[in-house]
């Protein structure tokens, strides 16, 4: 009997260690696997070919009985047919092994066809990548083969391969899942790239916030060295560098500065890293998901990869579905499906039966796609036409209770904190944008604010050196484009239709619904409720009364 327990970061946070403990106490041996992408079903346990989901401690007890052949109710934990269907309908390339193999075992990776030797020349490898049409999955979407060829053609014998695992986009976690679930795929991708460009050393720049990913990479590297796939004899080795927390280090030149022990500030390009990168030597930087696609392409041929997708976007893409969605997690789909397919298919629709309003794609650099554009095709070009970007694949779904002005404010708050400070427009301009948005959310918006936001946004885009500054105003511009009415509501009509911005809320008890249980008064942290009346002077608009009321008798 093969028993595996899903131990990605999300599984652990969902309480899978309790399952492990119960199994261990019962003397049951189980192997570990990474995240299968269905985070909403965690903790997940596989027994032979059966999948058991949402396994709490009672579930673990039932599974113990099942394993021992005793009467049990394990069936109630079996994965629902619909979810199994979703799982099976996905196309696994980057995530092919995630949640299926033990990420801490190189033998299981090899058994799945990993580290198969190829007999291509470096040029042929680059050719296959060119045929595949693979583009960078980290955000910019630049053709991978072009970067490889540029690095190969650069003079000099000392070259570097760098894996960008500094996944900083809030709302994206596919890289973490790949590193935790299938680290060898990333190592193999880097080895193939190193062979193609002639690099002697590889560096993985990984976020310090991902301790489990770092641990699994360390194990994987040690195993690959033991098998002589890495090391002096091979002429190529890989080391890990833990990042220290800076979103801007996702930018190539900033990442290199950070590797060199400097403040992670971007510099002008050219020279491109392919000519002058780490230690001033030719370097090639790709994202985790990009590398994870490479072994599959080399094994199956570039044309098998380019057979999937649209004319301009080939292969598959992993999306991280989060926010107000029923089935949050990772999905890998061929390019060319629609936004709607993903949200209502794998995503299972909007939480609590609410109305789909918009989806934020591409993190702080991307934009909001409104519900009326839900039939937009998922490819680099179509998404760009809406004002959003593919980005690293974060999809944060919003419903009618999300205020779009507040979302723009949220993203600007993020970019202001993460701006490295080099360019005036990014450093000061974004701060001014944020101040205007804060003012609007606080009910102090004024005539001319909308025009000012648009004008300043365009100037920031034009006046910033790197992508962080150039794209920082995108959330403002897309929300202005599709949700200008919400801005007008805040500024002119002094209301927030999503009932999210506190300045516009006025908490009152609806006596038609109220059954006088007085729970709200007991819970109010500032004692603002007496005799079933809310004192607006004392009320801090924390919303606790509304959240504790079982009869929805608190109006805003």
């Amino acid at each position: 009997m093969k028993i595996t327990i899903g131990k990605g970061s999300c599984g652990i946070a969902a309480g899978v260690n309790e399952v492990s403990r119960i199994f261990a106490e019962a003397g049951i041996e189980a192997t570990v696997t990474g995240c299968i992408g269905k985070c909403y079903l965690e903790p997940i346990v596989n027994i032979n070919d059966d999948i058991y989901v949402k396994v709490d401690s009672k579930g673990a007890d039932e599974l113990v009985k099942l394993i021992r052949g005793e009467p049990n109710q394990a069936d109630t934990y079996k994965i629902p047919a619909q979810d199994l269907e979703i799982l099976k309908s996905q196309t696994g390339i980057a995530l092919k092994n995630c949640g299926l193999i033990n990420p801490e075992s190189i033998d299981e990776y090899i058994e799945k066809g990993g580290y198969t030797p190829h007999n291509m020349s470096p040029e042929e490898v680059i050719d296959q990548i060119k045929i595949s049409g693979l583009c960078g999955r980290g955000g910019a979407g630049f053709p991978t083969w072009f970067k490889w060829k540029a690095a190969r053609d650069s003079a000099g014998s000392e070259k570097y391969i760098i894996c960008n695992a500094d996944e900083g986009d809030p709302g994206a976690f596919m890289d973490r899942a790949i590193l935790e679930g299938d680290p060898h795929a990333v190592l193999e991708g880097m080895m193939i790239a190193a062979y193609a460009i002639g690099a002697g050393e590889g560096i993985i720049y990984v976020r310090a916030e991902y301790p489990l990913a770092i641990k699994r990479l360390e194990i994987a590297i040690a195993q690959a060295r033991e098998k002589k796939l890495l090391g002096a004899e091979k002429g190529f080795d890989i080391r890990i560098k833990a990042g220290a927390g800076a979103f801007v280090c996702g930018e190539e030149t900033a990442l290199i500065a950070s590797l060199e022990g400097e403040r992670g500030m971007p510099r002008l390009k050219p020279p491109f890293p392919a000519q002058k990168g780490y230690n001033d030597k030719p370097s090639n930087i790709n994202n985790v998901e990009t590398f994870a696609n490479v072994p599959w392409i080399i094994k199956n041929g570039g044309s098998a990869f380019s057979a999937m997708g649209t004319e301009n976007s080939k292969g598959t893409k992993v999306f991280a579905l989060t926010g107000k969605i029923n089935k949050g997690g990772l999905v890998e789909v061929p390019m060319g499906g629609t936004v709607k397919d993903v949200i209502y298919g794998a995503g299972g629709g909007i939480k609590d039966g609410k109305k789909f309003k918009a989806v934020q794609m591409g993190g702080p650099s991307g934009g909001c796609i409104p519900a009326e554009l839900e039939n937009t095709e998922i490819d680099y070009e179509s998404l760009k036409a809406t004002g959003a970007i593919m980005g690293s694949g974060g999809m944060v779904v919003m419903d009618e209770t999300t205020c779009m002005v507040d979302m723009a404010r949220y993203f600007l708050d993020f970019t202001c904190k993460e701006s490295c400070g080099k360019c005036t427009h990014c450093r000061v301009g974004n701060r001014r944008l944020l101040e205007i948005l804060e003012r609007i959310c606080e009910g102090n918006g004024k005539d001319g604010d909308i025009e000012l936001l648009s004008e300043l946004s365009e100037e920031i885009k034009a006046g910033s050196l790197c992508a962080l500054g150039q794209t920082a105003p995108n959330p403002v511009l897309t929300t202005l484009k599709y949700f200008e009415n919400e801005y007008i509501d805040h500024i002119v009509n002094k209301k927030c239709t999503a009932k999210s911005c506190k300045a516009f809320l006025n908490y009152q008890i609806n006596m038609d619904k109220c059954k006088k249980c007085n729970l709200c008064a007991k819970k109010c942290p500032v004692g603002a409720i007496t005799d079933l009346k809310i004192d607006s002077e004392k009320c801090t608009k924390c919303g606790l009364c509304a959240s504790v009321c079982r009869l929805s008798a608190i109006d805003t």
């Binding site: 970061s9 999300c10 985070c39 709302g171 400097e262 992670g264 993020f414 904190k417």
Partner: protein, 162 residues
């Protein structure tokens, strides 16, 4: 400034300082923070002396990256995720609840030294949002009540030790 830069602890940093090149500055600082829990000024001076890097550069690197702390932290470091998914799912309410419970602002340590409260960018557990991390443990699907309950449990566990 109280700094426990004892010789015993300094010894732990020695191996990191060997064969220095500038690429090692960040790993050295990470190691130092692992040893001391934060980066006291004396340690930055010590690292500057040992590596030959100007103190201004060392401090510049420390202040640039969010991981580095220039103030001591409480026994339990609370990292409340402020990622997009957590924001959409109400992390602001959790923040208010925690700060009221502990009477601290962001980056501050509680009077009893038990907790430091910090906001962080995405922890990558978006499907469990809102999320916080205390020590190496991640807590998901937080509500105001569950967050306070977790703090009280930790407080209780710490008191039991005395």
């Amino acid at each position: 400034m109280d700094c426990n830069c004892g010789q015993e602890l300094l010894k732990k940093l020695e191996p990191e300082l060997k064969d220095y090149n500038s690429g090692k500055l960040i790993p050295i600082l990470q190691k130092a923070q692992e040893i001391y829990g934060w980066l006291p000024p004396d340690i930055l001076k010590y690292i500057s002396d040992k590596t030959g890097e100007k103190l201004a550069k060392v401090v510049g690197v420390v202040t640039f990256y969010t991981q580095f702390r220039s103030k001591p932290v409480g026994k339990n470091l609370i990292l409340l995720c402020q990622g997009t998914a957590c924001h959409v799912n109400g992390s602001a309410d959790i923040e208010t609840a925690i700060r009221n419970e502990l009477s601290v602002n962001e980056g501050e340590i509680t009077a009893d030294g038990l907790f430091t409260y910090n906001n962080v960018a995405c922890l990558g557990c978006c499907s469990l949002s809102p999320v916080m991390m205390i020590g190496d443990k991640t807590y998901g699907k937080l509500t105001r009540d569950s967050a306070i309950k977790i703090l009280n449990e930790i407080r209780g566990a710490c008191e039991d030790k005395f």
